[in-house]
């Protein structure tokens, strides 16, 4: 079986060379770059999980009484992978494409546009997963302190799932990199995608409702399935259908968005198509 060129490029050496470039730059700046993803979950868990959670003593998830801090923890993992990957593929990639002209510098070599795209997607997904791992470390600290009780065996499944999620959200971010007319228009995907997808998704609060619109939104929102799937694994230690739904939606997103990203970026970067 042969894959179409859009997907074959994912495993070619040029995509690894582009990913290697991003890793090299990050390794040099890791000591300053790592502070925000480390401090943010600590602050959020303390402010919302401990602080706000203290005002919600009878919090329940699917009929089970849980501490709000415990409810929040899987949501934060899902949100971190989503937000980091989307932001990297949108904002950081746009700067490399438009201002730093890094892409053009790569395209004059044996690297082709499809490799640049996969390199960006892998990098955004790697960073999204690493930042989620940092959240896991913070959660482990809270567990050691006795503030949080999770089924830690589920982490083995959670990490690859987060990587797949981050890959999919990176392809979505690149779609907007190809579409936004200028950096001043970056707030459009933030308000149109990040806010609705990020918050109406069972990450920070349970989203329920019987209306067909709510039901359709919950079925189609991959972040909802990701957050709930991880929640089942870490709070109940249970495998569940949200994990399958999340994986299916992520594979679908990657399958559809990679060729679309390539087509739109080919037009934007090379003036072709």
């Amino acid at each position: 079986m042969t894959f179409p060129p859009h997907y074959r490029a994912a495993v070619q050496w040029q995509s690894r060379a582009v990913l290697g470039r991003h890793l090299t730059v990050y390794r040099r700046n890791w000591h300053t770059a790592v502070l925000p993803p480390l401090l943010e979950p600590i602050i959020l868990l303390l402010a919302f999980g401990v602080g706000l959670g203290g005002f919600i003593p009878d919090f329940a998830w699917r009929g089970r009484p849980v501490a709000y801090l415990a409810y929040l923890a899987p949501g934060m993992l899902a949100y971190t992978a989503f937000m980091t990957a989307f932001f990297q593929a949108l904002f950081a990639a746009y700067i490399r494409m438009h201002y730093q002209k890094t892409w053009e510098g790569q395209l004059i070599t044996q690297v082709r546009l499809e490799h640049v795209i996969w390199g960006e997607v892998f990098w955004a997904a790697t960073l999204g997963t690493v930042y989620a791992l940092i959240v896991i470390l913070v959660l482990a600290g809270f567990s050691l302190a006795g503030w949080l009780h999770l089924h830690w065996a589920g982490v083995v499944l959670v990490v690859p799932l987060l990587f797949l999620a981050a890959l999919a959200f990176a392809t979505l971010g690149l779609l907007f990199t190809a579409l936004v007319p200028s950096i001043d228009h970056m707030n459009i995907p933030f308000f149109l995608v990040i806010m609705p997808l990020g918050f109406a998704s069972s990450t920070y609060f349970p989203l329920e409702g019987d209306s067909p619109w709510t039901q359709a939104w919950l079925i189609l929102n991959p972040l909802h399935h990701l957050a709930e799937g991880i929640r089942f694994l870490l709070l109940a230690g249970e495998w569940n259908s949200h994990l399958l739904a999340a994986c299916g939606l992520f594979v679908l997103m990657i399958g559809v968005l990679i060729p679309l990203d390539e087509r739109l970026l080919r037009r934007r970067v090379l003036g072709e198509g």
């Binding site: 040029q14 470039r21 730059v25 890094t102 510098g105 004059i108 070599t109 044996q110 690297v111 090379l270």
Partner: protein, 313 residues
């Protein structure tokens, strides 16, 4: 230090051979049947007014874009059949600075070498040699942002040579540089020619094309309209002589009318002068008709050609 010669390639076979190139954007033929060739140790100048198709031709040959029709061979390799092998033998020095500002000068060369497969042999030694050759060794550990315009160009050239290409495309290599820096870049380009590289140059500076290019290809509206040495191209497209007279002279209008009636090209107005291209018999007829008029006669230059192309497009 001179660059190691590219690996064996028959000297009589052009390094770059493109035939019948066609490229359309939104239904408009931007490149329309262009043929070009460039041999080892030769500089081919691509000239034309804005929108003539120079940059698109260069981008097709360099592999950025796929032609809608036509063939491109680099060092005997069909670009369409084996784009990766062809790209290994080609390099581009872009008009914009496309070095990686997240790396030092040395880091840029190291990183560039990772975008080629197989990686250039003895890469550390090659980087040291390139830094020395382009006078970049004292800035090796600095970020490129601190470099002057001339040194940024040197870095772009050094980066472009990291993998020992056979063919180098130079897109407006001295745009925005001061005269001293331009001269230095010209000398570097000339040295690359002597090393046996095939070079394709696009430029808006006619003096640059005149000094550097061994052969010219003139593009107009996506088509090659003349090719050859600058003398041959000028003879074909401009004429043997250019007659310059004061455009404020009351007789200027009479000259225009005479040129029109004689079937000559429309004289070009440049500030307060009128330029009229003529062949030998035409000059004799002009002298007979306007013997009492003050005028100068000089050989045509590429500037005349450029003005003529810009006027027509």
């Amino acid at each position: 230090m001179s660059m190691p010669a590219p690996d064996s390639h028959p000297p009589d076979v052009p390094i770059l051979r493109a035939a019948g190139l066609v490229k359309q954007f939104t239904g408009r033929r931007v490149v329309d049947g262009v043929d070009l060739q460039c041999r080892a140790g030769q500089v081919l100048g691509l000239l034309g007014a804005n929108g003539a198709g120079k940059t698109t031709t260069l981008r097709l040959c360099a592999g950025f874009l796929q032609p809608d029709a036509g063939t491109i061979h680099v060092a005997g390799i069909d670009r369409r059949a084996d784009p990766e092998a062809a790209a290994r033998r080609v390099s581009v020095c872009t008009q914009d600075d496309t070095f990686d500002s997240d790396f030092t000068v040395r880091g840029n060369l190291e990183q560039m070498s990772r975008y080629f497969h197989p990686r250039p042999p003895a890469v550390k030694e090659r980087i040291a040699a390139l830094l020395e050759r382009f006078g970049l060794d004292r800035y090796a550990d600095a970020k490129p942002d601190i470099l002057s315009g001339g040194y940024r160009r040197r870095l772009m050239l050094a980066r472009a040579l990291i993998h020992e290409p056979h063919l180098l495309f130079l897109d407006e290599p001295t745009t925005g540089l001061d005269p001293q820096a331009r001269l230095e870049v010209w000398e570097l380009i000339d040295a690359l020619r002597r090393d046996g590289l095939a070079l394709v140059l696009t430029t808006h500076y006619m003096d640059e094309a005149e000094r550097l290019a061994d052969e010219l290809l003139i593009l107009r509206e996506g088509q090659g309209v003349a090719a050859g040495s600058s003398r041959a191209v000028l003879g074909d497209l401009v004429g043997e002589h250019v007659l310059v007279l004061d455009a404020r002279n009351p007789a200027a209008e009479t000259v225009r009318t005479w040129a029109r009636q004689a079937g000559l090209p429309e004289p070009t107005r440049v500030l307060s002068t009128l330029h009229l291209a003529l062949d030998g018999p035409g000059l004799a007829r002009f002298s007979a008709r306007f013997g009492d008029l003050r005028f100068e006669v000089r050989p045509p230059t590429l500037d005349d050609l450029f003005l003529k192309l810009a006027e027509k497009s």
